[in-house]
């Protein structure tokens, strides 16, 4: 039970709003100490995992110079102009379309977003600006919190499409991991069985995204109306 101290430290530290890095490091040190490691060993493990996981910042650091440059020269403004031509486009529909494309392509075994990479290659430069552009084309200027809600939903669509499309394809890591797990236990379990039973969940996940993107579109309309109301109040 004492080994769960790290989870307690994280929960308390987050609740008390300490610096997140400090909380994580403290949780790691506490967990290591109760497991009988020395401080040097714990620092060694932190160093080892930190270096091994350098790949995690790679999409961010390599994409920001490009994004910064293109945005300085008006990428988002151009995306708005283009999406205005598709009259029926809304932020929610753009995001839902992306979810469908992502789920289907992943289910067919085309996964380009391993380890969350698609957030950098698809969501940030294309999906989010298109969704924002669709909302601006529909409503004009957007309040800052609305822009943030659209972006967060675009990222959520990427994760949802990725996770719940993936297991329908038999050659993915998850299915192979499960197969290997059962093999070592001497249980014969078919990969197709595991993959096909991923279908109902995949459909449920898409239905949930239909609901969430509609909620998003209604939320955008409401927040834009509220902001317009406030502006009129101020003018009076």
């Amino acid at each position: 039970m004492i080994k769960l101290i790290g989870i307690v430290v994280v929960a308390l530290g987050f609740a008390l709003r300490f610096n997140t890095l400090l909380v994580v490091m403290a949780a790691g040190i506490a967990t290591g100490l109760v497991a009988g490691m020395s401080l040097n060993e714990i620092m060694g493990l932190f160093g080892k995992y930190f270096v091994e996981n350098r790949y995690m910042t790679l999409p961010v650091v390599l994409m920001v110079p490009l994004i910064g440059l293109l945005e300085r020269y008006g990428l988002q403004e151009r995306a708005e102009v283009l999406i205005k031509r598709a009259r029926s486009a809304t932020a929610g529909r753009v995001i839902l379309l992306y979810t469908a494309v992502r789920q289907i392509s992943v289910a067919l075994g085309i996964n380009v977003g391993a380890s969350g990479g698609a957030h950098a290659s698809f969501v940030r430069p294309l999906v989010a600006p298109m969704a924002e552009g669709a909302a601006r084309a529909q409503h004009g200027g957007l309040p800052e919190k609305t822009v943030q809600a659209i972006r967060a939903q675009a990222a959520a669509a990427e994760n949802t499409g990725n996770f719940f499309g993936e297991d329908v394809f038999i050659a993915v890591g998850a299915i192979l991991l499960m197969k290997g797990f059962f093999d070592t236990l001497g249980l014969a379990v078919s990969v197709w069985g595991m993959a096909l039973w991923g279908l109902p969940t995949a459909l449920v996940a898409f239905a949930v995204m239909v609901w969430r993107t509609r909620v998003l579109d209604r939320r955008i309309a409401r927040e834009v109306a509220e902001a317009a109301g406030r502006r009129r109040e101020e003018e009076k």
Partner: protein, 323 residues
């Protein structure tokens, strides 16, 4: 024999290290920066880890990380006050460049897809171009660099402009940039310390798993909760399946292991949607999208995860004991 890769991710780490070093130097030269020395030191330490991470002893890296955490916790790491260009300037530029602005943004995904599918297959005489497992990231990296070259050409920007703009965005992200790696390290430490077995044992002992429905709920919930702790459904799967799934669903109630495992893993993914521990899926996108609330993506995913998890339990309950 496995072929020897010619290009590895290390090349990109050195490039990234150079970006951090340039940022640090720029901050040091900005006299108006609110926390000039602390911020410059933070990015310099990170540059050292990226440039020399492979050759430094792990404990030394650990202490460098400790130093960065200390700087962040004492509020020494802050963003620059330099502002980006005005909207009017951007609109004018967008009108001038038209669709040429979009090409670089399209190069990245196209190159990422093509590169992922092709780069890993290029090999000759005992050498391969890259390590096949690293194909997605290397393809993304090459795509980003290629797109950057095209973007500089079309916009006519100075060569240091992307570095300045990128540095400004990275400073806005600040110390949170290393949070994913820190959480991965914490997950690794949890696994080393055997936190998993304790959680599985706790769930198995406190719930009446003798009832078929309870066994299903305990397994799905166990997968989700444990994934939330570790940030990784793959790490949760063996622990929870051995601790709850196999003894109760398969052996006690004769459930179908394929259905259990398939839907169980998807329940774990619901946990992935809910946790900052899965930083590359949840926190990194929040940074990329410049969201001030680091948990904004997780918050958007709460309704999705809850509904899909509930649906998983129902689907498993109605199918696992029947087929």
């Amino acid at each position: 024999m496995t072929p020897v890769p010619l290009i590895s991710l290390e090349v990109f780490y050195i490039l990234i290290g150079a970006v951090f070093a340039a940022m640090s130097a720029r901050i040091l030269a900005t006299k108006s920066h609110a926390r000039r020395l602390g911020s410059a030191l933070f990015w310099a330490l990170l540059a050292v880890i990226y440039l020399f991470g492979k050759v430094l002893p792990p404990a030394a890296v650990g202490y460098l990380v400790l130093g960065m955490v200390a700087l962040a916790a004492t509020r020494q790491v802050q963003r620059t006050t330099e502002a980006g260009p005005e909207r009017a300037t951007r609109v004018a530029s967008a009108e001038r460049l038209q669709n040429r602005l979009l090409w670089p943004a399209l190069i990245v995904p196209v190159f990422a897809v093509a590169g992922t599918l092709l780069l890993g297959r290029i090999q000759a005489g005992g050498f391969s171009l890259i390590e096949p497992k690293q194909a997605p990231l290397i393809a993304l990296g090459c795509g980003a660099l290629l797109a950057l070259a095209v973007a500089i050409r079309t916009t006519g920007a100075k060569i240091h402009t992307p570095l300045e703009e990128g540095g400004r965005l990275l400073q806005a992200i600040g110390w949170a940039l290393i949070l994913p790696q820190m959480l991965a390290a914490l997950g690794g430490l949890f696994a080393r310390a055997g936190v998993g077995a304790v959680v599985a044992d706790l769930v198995a002992r406190t719930l009446p798993t003798g009832i078929p429905l309870v066994a299903v709920v305990a397994y799905c919930l166990g997968m989700a909760l444990f994934t939330m702790c570790l940030g990784n459904a793959f790490a949760a799967f063996p622990v929870i399946t051995l601790g709850i799934g196999l003894p109760f669903i398969v052996q006690l109630h004769h459930g179908n292991p394929a259905i259990m495992a398939g839907i169980g893993m998807l329940s774990g993914y619901c946990g992935t949607l809910l946790t900052p521990m899965a930083a590359n899926f949840n926190l990194v996108p929040a940074m990329l999208l410049e969201l001030p609330d680091k948990n904004a993506v997780i918050k958007a995913q709460v309704p999705i995860a809850v509904v899909v998890l509930a649906a998983n339990m129902l689907i498993m309950y109605f199918c696992v004991y029947r087929f």
